[in-house]
Structures are given as structure tokens and as C-alpha cells.
Symmetry: C2
Subunit: 234 residues, 2 copies
């Protein structure tokens, strides 16, 4: 490939990237259905004829936004997971990868979640396939984590009584709950606010793994609740 | 009020309820902006003129859906919380109330989450006020729970060393993470499937309070991870 062709490709990609980012912003603001190609032309300063050089239709723009996002987030994830086998570290990578990417692409996140059904036919099927693969990866990480934990021997208590085993949470519920916790951020999180992306990742990871109350805190609160009950029935 | 007027009011309310449910279903399916009053007329079998007897505009329909939902979920919640002071029980009530209501109103849930910005002016402000009150209630329940836990004395370890206190999760992050976990269900949960609403409530509550891995499981998995690391560096 000659240097000129390379530069042209790069210019083409940059302009497409600019169009996709502007379109995602407008779709997120006023919904896909209420946006016209004319709105996108105005926002980008690219003529209608110019836009059609990059995409056949508004639907193709929506497809490219969704496809690029899932493609990039999946590719980065698979690269980062390759060198890690510890189940907790793999989950941390998953959460960090998802939140870092989407905190930098909040408009795209909203479009992915609101306009999934606005695509039809092959375009819809193509994006759904990527999304299923991404969901399966999350499900597999959580299954392996639970398997590593539940499959291992539990130490007996010092007084010799058996330890009460808490029922594990359903992996499918946990997978979608994790996506819910992460994807809801477009409703409230401001990446330029006082909570940094890494603090957000840290909070979500600890909340998902260890819960809102640590074991010791749960015991304390439940102890207090029992005391209150005794006092009440006295 | 005479019996006839009461019966008329009830008939009016029932018909309005029918219109709101049908509208929510259509807004959820094809988005508010792509729905016309004619679509709602077709779906309900009520003439356009008849529809305008119940609402001035499509926007008023969207407002009534959002206002009725937040109104009903808030009223039920406040009634149920009145007689309960234990922080964990209050959180259970909050999760059960939210998920039971919205599992029976999934189309409304999607409309609430996708079309929040489709209202403007006073209608938007009215719904936002209710939503803020609902969010504040959740935030308060979590603050009280964390306060009860963190404020209490932690028992020292048997060997006399101090216990490492885990940093508490930010209450604001936890509040929105909880809403995310719960509100995401319209993307995956089937109330007629094999997971009952009460099982869903139970899973989400345990996941939020105790995390995906119990304390013992975390220790085991982390122990395994350490062993793997030692083996690797050997």
C-alpha cells in the first residue's frame, strides 16, 4: 500500500469516526426515529451528498455505531483476558474494560441500550450475534468464579460445627444484574464529576463481589435487628 | 356521591387504565415518537374522538403512564415502610416493592426508562419531582443501613490484631447500581419463565447485600489465586 492510499484511508476513517460520534450524540439526545440525515448534516457540517459517501442510510449509521462499539469493547476485552487466568482478576478486567470504554462513550451506550430494536434483518442479527458473544463471555467469567469458589472445600468451624452454606446467586441473574449496574451509568454518571472512572470501577467491582455490607457489617446490623425484636416483644 | 356517579367514575377509570396499558405497550414496542394516536385508537378499538375524551394529547398519555407508575410504586412503598424500622428489612421491602410492581408492568418500565426526556415543561418537572423523591427514599434506606453497620463497634480478632476495615461503597453509587440491577430486567426477564418474581427478588437482594461471592468463598478463591501466583513465579 502506498503512503498516499494509507493517508486517504486514515482520512476516510477519521471522518467516518466524526460522523458516527455526532450521530450517536444526536440519536441519544432526540432518539433515532426523530433524527433526520439533515440533522446529522447540520451537526457535522458535512453536506447530505457527502454523508451518503460514508453510509447508505440512517439505518446504516445506527448499525455502524452499534457494531463499532461492540466490536471495540469485545476486542479489547479478549486481548486483556488472554494473559489472565485468576477468576477474580478476570472479572475485574471485564468490569474495568466495560466501564472505561462506555464512560468515554456515554452517548453510544444510551444508543446501544435504547435503539437495539431499531435495526432489522441482517443488521440486527449481526449486532445481536456480537452482543450474545459478549454476554456469554461475562456469563462464563462468573460461572468460573462461582465454580472455583463453590467447588473448593470449606474449612470447618473452630468449634467443630458445620458451616452454613449460603445458596449461591443464579449466574444468569448475576450476569444481567452486573450489566444493569454498569449500563445504568448513562442515567447518572458524569465522567467529568468528582467520582473518577477508576473510583467508579472500584466501587462497582467491590459492590458486585462483596455486596453493600461486608460480612462483619451484616453480622452487626443483623445483631442489632435481633436486639430490637427482643426489646419489642418484651 | 350517588351509586350511579360512582359507577360512572369507575367505568371511566377502567377505560383510562385500558388506554394507558395499551399505549405503554405500543410506546415500548415502537417508541413514543413513532407512535400516533391512530395506532392507539386501532389497538384499543376506541375512536380518535373517544380517546380525546380521556387525554388532550399523546404527550398527556405519556405523562399519565409515568405519573401513575411512580405514584403507585411510591404510595405502596411508603405504606409498607411505615411499620418497619430494621434497616435490612426496609431494604428488602424496597427491592420487593420495586421488582413486584415492575415485573407486572414491564412495558411501563421500559417507557419510564426510555421516554423520561420525551416530556417537557411542567409535565416533565412533575414526573421528575416524583422520581427524585423515590431516589431519595432509596438513598436514605441505604445510608441508614450503612450508618447502622459502620457506626457499630467491630469485635477485635482472637489473636488481638486489629481487623482491617473494608472501605464502604459510596452510597450514591450503590443507589444507582441497585436501580440499574432492578431496572435492567425489562431487557431479559420473563415473568412467565422459570424464575418466579419472588426468586428474582431473593437473588437481587442477596446479590446486592452480600455480593456474588460470600466471605468464605472470597477467601477460598483468593487463596487459590495466591497459590497459582506462587506456582507461576517458581
Amino acid at each position: 500500500m502506498t503512503a498516499t492510499v494509507k493517508a486517504d484511508l486514515s482520512r476516510y476513517d477519521q471522518k467516518l469516526e466524526l460522523i458516527l460520534r455526532a450521530s450517536a450524540r444526536i440519536f441519544a439526545e432526540k432518539s433515532y426515529h426523530s433524527t433526520s440525515m439533515r440533522d446529522i448534516s447540520r451537526a457535522t457540517g458535512i453536506s447530505l451528498a457527502g454523508l451518503y459517501h460514508y453510509c447508505k442510510s440512517k439505518e446504516e449509521l445506527l448499525f455502524l455505531i452499534q457494531d463499532h462499539c461492540f466490536g471495540r469493547v469485545l476486542q479489547r476485552l479478549e486481548e486483556r483476558l488472554q494473559s489472565e487466568s485468576d477468576p477474580i482478576a478476570r472479572l475485574r478486567i471485564f468490569i474495568d474494560n466495560h466501564l472505561s470504554f462506555f464512560a468515554a462513550n456515554m452517548a453510544e451506550m444510551k444508543v446501544l441500550s435504547h435503539e437495539a430494536e431499531s435495526l432489522a434483518g441482517d443488521l440486527h442479527e449481526h449486532v445481536s450475534t456480537r452482543k450474545r458473544r459478549y454476554t456469554r463471555t461475562a456469563h462464563k467469567i462468573l460461572s468460573e468464579l462461582q465454580h472455583a469458589a463453590v467447588g473448593a472445600e470449606r474449612p470447618p468451624r473452630r468449634n467443630g460445627t458445620t458451616r452454613k452454606t449460603a445458596r449461591p446467586v443464579e449466574v444468569t441473574v448475576a450476569t444481567y444484574a452486573l450489566f444493569g449496574m454498569m449500563n445504568w451509568i448513562y442515567n447518572w454518571y458524569d465522567p467529568r464529576g468528582k467520582l473518577s472512572v477508576s473510583q467508579l470501577v472500584d466501587n462497582i467491582t467491590r459492590l458486585f463481589l462483596s455486596g453493600f455490607l461486608s460480612q462483619a457489617e451484616r453480622a452487626t446490623v443483623q445483631g442489632q435487628a435481633e436486639k430490637v425484636n427482643i426489646w419489642r416483644s418484651a
